[in-house]
């Protein structure tokens, strides 16, 4: 099935510049609708009020971290199947394992490039 490039993609990061970078890179990949949030709790609000097709979230945020957001998403009947990509500077094995155990769809380590972003989105949504 073709990927709907008009789906709402939610990007979550407490660094505004990173949100802007992600937004621009996603636009270059032809995603047209991008929502953003600066921490997990704000992201949850967006997820519960808007129809989101994929989440790309940072880990290290306050007050709600990316891993807490992921657990909330996987614990919510309406959201539990949502594709969720973690994009973070946390590169320790225990982080990757914790994210996988919490149900992450894929994991990108910062600094990243557009090619990695595209390949991880493809592995989660399919070719686009």
């Amino acid at each position: 099935m073709a990927v709907d490039m008009n789906m709402n993609v939610l990007i979550v990061d407490d660094y505004k510049t990173m949100l802007r970078i992600l937004r621009n890179l996603l636009k270059q990949l032809n995603f047209n609708n991008i929502e953003d949030a600066t921490d997990g709790s704000m992201a949850l609000e967006v997820l519960r009020t808007k129809d989101i097709g994929m989440v790309i979230s940072d880990w290290n945020m306050e007050p709600m971290t990316g891993i807490q957001l992921l657990r909330e998403v996987r614990g919510d009947d309406k959201l539990k199947h949502l594709p969720f990509i973690m994009i973070t500077a946390e590169s320790k094995s225990e982080n990757v394992i914790a994210a996988k155990e919490a149900g992450v769809s894929n994991y990108i380590v910062k600094p990243f490039n557009a090619e990695t972003l595209k390949s991880k989105i493809t592995s989660v949504l399919g070719e686009f």
């Binding site: 990061d13 660094y15 505004k16 510049t17 990173m18 802007r20 970078i21 621009n24 890179l25 270059q28 880990w59 290290n60 971290t65 891993i67 807490q68 500077a89 946390e90 590169s91 320790k92 094995s93 225990e94 982080n95 990757v96 394992i97 914790a98 996988k100 894929n106 994991y107 990108i108 380590v109 910062k110 600094p111 990243f112 490039n113 557009a114 990695t116």
Partner: protein, 230 residues
């Protein structure tokens, strides 16, 4: 008929005598054991003295050493007091934190300016087609990727700031020790002991920020780790 009291007195006297005799025997035995122990101890001390003969310091030497040690501690106290821990805590550390925050702000401003310009290039580029458009697209993508440095350096600087805060706590401890108040030191020791005793990895343990490049896992290593779950 003898009274109960008289009977009791008659019975008690020989018992008291017997008890006294037994107690004397016990004391004598204990003395003997004590003497034996003392003799053994004396033998051991004698052997030790023999073995260290010529090496053991004289009492006067020990006093001199202790005096020197006490003076050394006093001098160290004076030197640390001269460092003005309050100044370090109230002036130097906040200044350093402020400077680091300013670096984050400046790099964020610069990154946003770069992205403003890149977005303008993209707008102009949308009217182009062919090889030029592709080249410009590749260039703008590279610029966006490179702008990621601000996020990474920002996180690294935040790490340094939290290290400075830890140093501030240590300075607090130092001040408390010299003021004869060990409460905060005890608090910190308890905190450390509690964290040492932790076995499960908590969410807090997983917030480390960017790793040093030689320690950080590459995307390929992370992919392999994720794949191992399948």
């Amino acid at each position: 008929m003898p009274t109960a009291k008289k009977t009791a007195t008659r019975v008690t006297k020989p018992v008291k005598k017997a008890v006294a005799k037994k107690s004397a025997e016990k004391k004598a035995a204990a003395k003997k054991v004590g003497t034996t122990k003392a003799r053994k101890a004396a033998r051991v001390v004698g052997k030790v003295m023999k073995s260290v003969k010529g090496k053991a310091p004289k009492t006067s030497d020990l006093f001199a050493e202790l005096e020197a040690l006490a003076k050394y501690i006093q001098d160290a106290k004076k030197e640390i007091a001269a460092l003005s821990p309050d100044e370090v805590k109230e002036d130097f550390l906040p200044t350093a934190s402020g400077e680091l925050d300013a670096i984050i702000e400046a790099t964020a401003d610069a990154t946003n300016l770069i992205m403003d310009s890149t977005e303008i290039i993209e707008e102009v580029m949308s009217g182009l087609k062919g090889k030029n458009a592709d080249q410009l697209m590749a260039a703008t993508t590279s610029i966006y990727e490179a702008c990621g440095f601000q996020d990474i350096t920002g996180q690294r600087i935040t790490k340094v700031v939290s290290t400075l805060k830890e140093i501030e706590e240590k300075v607090d401890d130092l001040v408390a020790v010299f003021a004869g108040n060990s409460t905060s030191q005890a608090k910190n020791s308890k905190k450390k002991a509690a964290s040492k005793g932790k076995k499960e990895i908590t969410d807090e343990d997983l917030l480390n920020g960017p790793q040093a490049s030689e320690q950080a896992k590459s995307q390929a290593e992370i992919d392999a780790l994720l794949a191992s779950f399948d």
